[in-house]
Every structure is written in C-alpha cells, then in structure tokens.
C-alpha cells in the first residue's frame, strides 16, 4: 500500500483512461489506448518496474469490486509495457492470476510477447580526437574512431 500511496489517484483515474476502460471492446484496443494515455505514462514515470509488479500483485488479491479496480489494473499493466526492463520481470508477472479481470490475461500476453531487441552504440567525435561512448537501451559499449588517416 505504501507504493500506491506514492501515486496520486487523480493522475491514474483520468477521464480518458476511464473512457478507454468503459468503451474498449478488445484487449488490444484497450492496451493501445492506455499506453498512449497520461495515466500509464504517469505510473511508469513515478514507479520502478518491480514496484509496479508488486502493486499488480497487491491489486489482484481480491476480485474487482468496481470499474475503478479494473482501471487500476489495466493502467498498471499498460505502465509495465512502457518499461525497458520488463523482460527481467517476466516470471513474476506470469505468476500472477489475472483471470478475475476481464482482459487481464490477454493484456499480459501482449505486453510480454517477444520483441526484437535493439542494442545501441553512440559514438561522438570530439576535438581531442577521443570518443565518448554511451550505451543507451540495454548495453554500454566502448569504441573509438581513429583519425586522421587511421591504421591499417
């Protein structure tokens, strides 16, 4: 509950998120809407992935008593889909029983499906002819550019 306390409900229970939950007729449409909604972005920004996973676990202990309970779970799942390190928590997310929530299982399937991974390498040329290297996404890499003339 402490984790949930760090979220302000008005930023999660937004009118657009409520509308998405009420009017969506498929899980994929709902997920697509919520992923673009400020509510999912807010949760993803505010909480770490493991905190969201814990919160999901917390929310599914009891069957949903109102549409707002559904909204919270769907927003949390949509927020998880925005996290880069989601695959590390695959087992924990799969261990949850989401069957009591109408599209819980389907949304989980969509967010955990295999995606093409991307490794980035950034190379910046500097005046002192040394390159700073930063790895974005999932890896830090190193490299150098040899100039002028290079080496054989």
């Amino acid at each position: 509950m402490e984790i949930r306390g760090s979220l302000q409900s008005e930023f999660v229970e937004t009118p657009s998120a409520k509308e998405a939950v009420l009017f969506s007729n498929t899980a994929s449409f709902l997920l697509d809407r919520l992923r673009k909604d400020s509510s999912a972005a807010y949760v993803a920004h505010k909480l770490k992935t493991d905190e969201i996973v814990e919160l999901v676990k917390d929310r599914i202990k009891a069957p949903p008593a109102s549409p707002l309970d559904l909204l919270w779970l769907y927003v949390l799942l949509a927020a998880l889909s925005l996290k880069d390190d989601l695959q590390q928590f695959k087992d924990r997310i799969n261990s949850n029983d989401l069957s009591q929530f109408q599209w819980g299982d389907e949304i989980r399937k969509y967010i955990l499906e295999d995606k093409t991974t991307t490794n980035f390498l950034d190379t910046r040329y500097t005046e002192i002819r040394k390159n700073s290297q930063t790895g974005t996404a999932n890896r830090v890499t190193t490299g150098r550019v040899l100039v002028p003339g290079g080496s054989r």
């Binding site: 695959q87 995606k115 991974t117 190379t123 040329y125 100039v147 002028p148």
Partner: protein, 132 residues
C-alpha cells in the same frame, strides 16, 4: 545466425509503443568537392536473426573502413534477450572522412558470416563560384 539487412542512413527512430524501426534518409553515396570532410550524423543499422539453438549473446567488433584503412572501431554487443531477432544501431555523431573511397561498416557473426554495408565516397567537381 544470418543477416536480415544492413544499411547506412542519416538517422533512425524506434516507436516506443510498437517497437517498429524507421530509417530516415538512407545514405547511398557521399559526395564532396574536396577532402577531408566531416559527416555530422550517420547511423549504421543491422538486423540479425538467429536459430533457437544459436547463442543469444555475442560480442564482436564493428570496423569502419575507408578503402583498406580502418578509420574506426567499436565493441559491439549483440544480445538477443531471448528473442530470435536483434537490431544493432550504431550512431556516429561526427565521422571524419579524409579521402574518397569505399566507406564500409562491418562486423562478423559467430558462424563466420560477414555483415557489411558499403557507401561509396566520391569526389565531385566543385560548384561554380558566384560572381559579385
């Protein structure tokens, strides 16, 4: 492990929601009236595929050559993270080119397959000077 495609372009973007890759301004040829030149923005993109029994993590070296000369090198970490596809995106924010020739970006795959993308760098006549 096989190469699906490799290309040199000005920039790429990956859609956060769909994970789709978009490549902007594919670079087929670099032209300059004189050398050296400084290419401000260049990106090398390669998409590789593996079989389920092939290694999911592989380290190799990206070589940037101009003709026979190595003008750049970087460690490339290929991590499929359980998937069968992987994208390699190498951003160059400033790449000096000292002469005309074949600019080649390349690395080796574990089964000996070479991944290469080549862009010809050519010298073209200077545009006529404007008269006062």
């Amino acid at each position: 492990m096989i190469l699906q495609f490799a290309v040199v372009a000005q920039s790429v973007a990956i859609d956060r929601f769909t994970n789709r890759l978009s490549i902007f301004n594919v670079c087929e040829r670099i032209e300059a009236p004189q050398f050296p030149i400084f290419v401000a923005e260049l990106v090398f993109v390669a998409v590789v595929r593996r079989e389920p029994n092939e290694p999911a993590v592989y380290d190799t070296i990206l070589n940037i050559r101009l003709g026979q000369t190595v003008i750049g090198q970087a460690n490339l970490h290929i991590d499929f993270e359980g998937s069968l596809n992987n994208r390699q995106v190498a951003n160059f924010q400033g790449l000096p080119i000292v002469t005309a020739g074949e600019l080649q970006f390349g690395f080796d795959l574990p089964n000996g397959v070479q991944v290469n993308a080549t862009v010809p760098v050519v010298q073209v006549p200077a545009p006529p000077q404007a008269r006062a």
